[in-house]
Subunit: 151 residues, 2 copies
Amino acid sequence: MPDKSPGRPSESAVRAWVRLERAHRAALDAVEARLSKAGLPPLAWYDVLLELERAGKAGLRSFQLQAAMLFQQYNLSRLVDRMAAAGHVAKAPSPEDGRGLVLTITASGRALRRRMWPVYANAIEDAVGQHFSDAEARQLAGLLGRLYGEE
Amino acid sequence: MPDKSPGRPSESAVRAWVRLERAHRAALDAVEARLSKAGLPPLAWYDVLLELERAGKAGLRSFQLQAAMLFQQYNLSRLVDRMAAAGHVAKAPSPEDGRGLVLTITASGRALRRRMWPVYANAIEDAVGQHFSDAEARQLAGLLGRLYGEE
DNA sequence: CCTATATGGATGTAAATGCATCTATATGGA
DNA sequence: TCCATATAGATGCATTTACATCCATATAGG
């Protein structure tokens, strides 16, 4: 049992945090297992592809993608490398900023995202959707949104 | 926007899941950064120490700890190795099961947990507690609990 | 008993991550 | 213009994680 020495976090906050960890791990493991079993790349790839697909032809700068996904800079740099090597993402120098990089999704990337979605969707339903009514899911999303910029 | 091709996961479930990922990452990064800045080991160490401290002198079998933390088996095996090497955890063969391992916390482990808690507690408050009333935190915990065994 | 299978846990190897630092370009003063 | 500092992104190196197996003991069925 935590000491509660500084008295700072309420017991309920600690419980919420611990459950956030556990719930996240349980759901994530389930989702990743499904993707992996289907011979598909990890979840992070999907997120990148989706963001880039939404961005359209204009693409996104690395740092924008980074912010959208809450990824560490070095982490994203390497993830994008792998995806570019696999041909799903194209890297081009930014015309506006000599240091910058513009990322766009390729046709192969779009195809991959399309293949991933049904598997991912089923996994989300099983790991998350199943457990909540629509109203509850909304409520959960609302609460969780407070823990970060919300976009 | 997801295709919704199989129609299976409701839009609200997908949103809840995406926010669960983002919220978790945001909070986790904040907490880990605090621990690291204080020269303390990662969060997982705290969880192990806490579970073992709760288990008392009897300790826990590896697989019990594994289940409590939702850790992969090989992952926990190595984490425990590191903690044992650092002197915070003791490994002993199980008297009941020749394959088994009984894990207990050492005095140094207890001391470490005590040093970690104030830092961790503050981080939880800032990353999570701050954003919710007590009732909201309870509500969030309740919803999240449905996503796994709840213990 | 003896064999087949299951279970607890460890481990070799490859991949991903964290951390610190590096290079290159931008930008805001003096 | 020149310098100081900030920002975008990459990278070397150490640590951690994943995946696939492996070893040893347990357990069930014949």
